[in-house]
């Protein structure tokens, strides 16, 4: 009798063990993102349903993604990482991974499968550009133009044509994308852009092309600048993230048109900072699995016009949550928009960024 009681006790302990482990998840979750409409879309699509299922959890947002690499490095050196899950662009994720500041993940193990059972690594496909990176959305840097001030441009090279399209243009203050567009519009074939850019003459050629419009360019650093400059009439066309343009056009009704040509594809996603304590990591992984499943990524597209990173999410994309317009035609991934796209080469830029930045900054200061 006594013995059976003991073994029963042992049994219950054994049975309780997994649930005891599950209870060891921290109840606070610090998420880092970009603020604005994008963070709001994440909150509505991922965080609100997660909180409904886990009422004990408290989520804190930190709008620091723009300085994420520097801050994670500083936290890591201080030995006090206060962030749990950080939203960064793909190139930053690669950098964090390279420096050992982000956790390497086994995507099939930690992420949910597609509804039809396709493993996560296949569902995300090539978009997993780094072992530390869990992609969420595909966005693109593309051009908006004032419909009432200039004719409708049909090619990205309109930015270099100041005769047909007079007025100022806004471009991002960095070499990435601008150098590629310059070469493309200077007659370099799309497939050869990075080969050409890899040589000193290629860099010279790209800068010379940019030189032709240098005094007509307003350089931006924050994504909100181009829509504002367009709305003020300060520039007649300018590059920015497609979601920002969508909100200026569809939500604010500005006289702005969207140019889908040679737009540069880029990715945004989550990384888990390295060195989290076990209880916090358990909570992060639980949230991450939930927030990147097929339905959640499709839901996000109802709030912002960025394409979900999972192939299985695409058919589920519906209407805008407030405006009721179909979102699919506004996605950078929509076939009608993706006729001629520029695929940005992460590896190449990881190698050459420091060098080209120096040359680009020197050119700007001249």
């Amino acid at each position: 009798m006594k013995l059976s009681k003991l073994s029963a006790l042992a049994m219950t302990t054994a049975l309780c063990a997994p649930s005891a482990f599950a209870e060891e998840m921290a109840n606070e979750l610090t998420l880092v993102s970009w603020g604005g409409a994008y963070q709001a879309s994440q909150h509505k699509a991922y965080v609100e349903p997660y909180l409904a299922a886990n009422p004990d959890v408290k989520v804190v947002w930190d709008e620091s993604s723009a300085e994420a690499v520097a801050k994670i490095r500083a936290m890591n050196e201080a030995g006090n990482v206060t962030w749990d899950l950080v939203d960064v662009v793909a190139s930053d994720a690669m950098r964090l991974c390279d420096e050992g500041l982000a956790e390497e993940l086994d995507h099939d193990e930690v992420l949910a499968e597609a509804p039809d059972g396709t493993p996560a690594s296949e569902d995300f496909g090539d978009l997993i550009v780094s072992d530390c990176f869990v992609p969420q959305i595909v966005y693109s840097t593309t051009f908006g133009y004032r419909t009432d001030l200039i004719d409708q441009p049909d090619s990205v090279c309109a930015i270099f044509d100041t005769e047909k399209y007079p007025g100022k243009r806004s471009l991002q203050k960095r070499p990435i994308d601008n150098m590629e567009w310059a070469l493309y519009c200077d007659g370099v074939a799309k497939e050869e852009i990075y080969d050409v850019l890899g040589t000193d003459e290629g860099v010279e050629q790209a800068l010379a092309k940019l030189d032709t419009i240098k005094d007509q360019v307003v350089w931006w650093t924050a994504g909100a600048e181009t829509p504002q400059l367009l709305a003020d009439g300060e520039v007649v066309m300018g590059s920015t993230f497609n979601g920002r343009l969508f909100s200026a056009i569809a939500e604010q009704g500005q006289p702005i048109g969207m140019l889908w040509d040679m737009q540069s594809f880029d990715l945004d996603g989550w990384v888990v900072p390295a060195g989290l304590p076990a209880d916090r990591k358990a909570r992060v992984m639980d949230f991450l699995k939930f927030a990147t499943d097929t339905q959640r990524l499709a839901d996000q597209a109802a709030y912002i016009s960025y394409g979900p990173a999972r192939a299985s999410s695409a058919p589920l994309v519906g209407k805008h949550a407030e405006l009721g317009i179909e979102m699919a035609p506004h996605m950078p991934t929509d076939p009608a928009n993706a006729g001629n796209v520029h695929v940005y080469d992460y590896e190449w830029w990881a190698d050459n960024r420091d060098d080209l930045d120096a040359k680009f900054q020197a050119w700007l200061a001249k």
Binding site: A70, D98, R353, D354
Partner: protein, 423 residues
Amino acid sequence: MSDITQSGPVLAADGTPLKRSLSRALRMQKLRALMLIAPLLLFILVTFILPVGDMLFRSVENGIVRDTLPRTVEALADWDPASGELPEEAVFAAMAADLQIAAEEKTHTKVAKRLNYENPGVSSVFRKSGRKVSKWDLATDGPFREKLIDIDKGWGDIELWRTIKTYSGQITSGYFLNAVDMQLGAEGPEIRPENERIYNTMLIRTMRMSLIITFSCILLGYPVAWILANLPARKANLLLILVLLPFWTSLLVRTSAWKILLQQQGVINDTLVWIGLVDDANRLVLINNELGTIIAMTHILLPFMILPMYSVMQTINPSYLRAAKSLGATDWTAFWRVYFPQTVPGIGAGSILVFILAVGYYITPALVGGTKGTFISNLIAYHISTSGNWGLGAALGAILLAVVLLLYWVYDKVVGIDNVKLG
């Protein structure tokens, strides 16, 4: 008479030498004073001097290469890059061994990032090789020279090995050289190619524009301070609030307001076009250039000039001016020979404040400066928060600090730091 003939030290009442007993009494006093300021001293030391020192040290710190690739660095010691030949097999074997350990600890990409600053392309060579090398058996899989070059032909580039050898020391001058537009070439330091030179231009521009801003502040602030100092107290206080008001407004709001005013479709241009002074097609470019930065920063820094000038002017007795005039001086002579010299300490204090604040500004230039109106601090901020090259950022910061201290010293020699009054 007797005290003249007395030799030896003067003694205190208890027989000890006066000097010693005096210094003992003073030492107690000094210690007590030190105890009183100890909390502040410690606070400054821990929260300011140590972190700044640590950050500045990064401008020369270079342990990562030697720590991550110890065998390679040792094996490379005998290799001469000038020979024009690749290092021998032993070096490649050492590199394979180092890479295997580094890949396990995930440090091979860190060292690659460091070397990539000096030689673009190294980063991907290391990244590609790390994983593959970790599968090798070091004892049997040699020779490694061909195997490494097989993974990435970058290993067959002499420049890569030269970079590793050049930057294998604990301490490097690389960041500082980069910060003054130089680099470590095959024959020691050399000037960078023209299309990569930027930091000297930026440093000179920062100094020049900060001086212009300081002088604009003196010109605009002097009359305001004079009016403030000569009005009845009640009115002066009211005006003083107007001077202080910008302090209570966010810096970003003030800068953005200048954007609205100055841009080509902005308030000032609209008004000028409406009056007919400016043609609609040729609106003035007042922003995203040097002018924009000078206007916005002069406005933002003006209170720092007015306040010290005002407090100095307040203490000047108005009867001096009356005395000068009663002795026959004209208004101008009275002002220039009598009043102005007495206000110099205020101008000095204001100028130091404004200049030093201006040199380190980066938010306002980033927002309204375009490409021609940005400061060196914008590049420091870029390297700290965007490019992640903290070593270069630290070197630029150290140079900026040194230049400011140098200017402070020159100022002390020319004007005299005793001749500065904050009130």
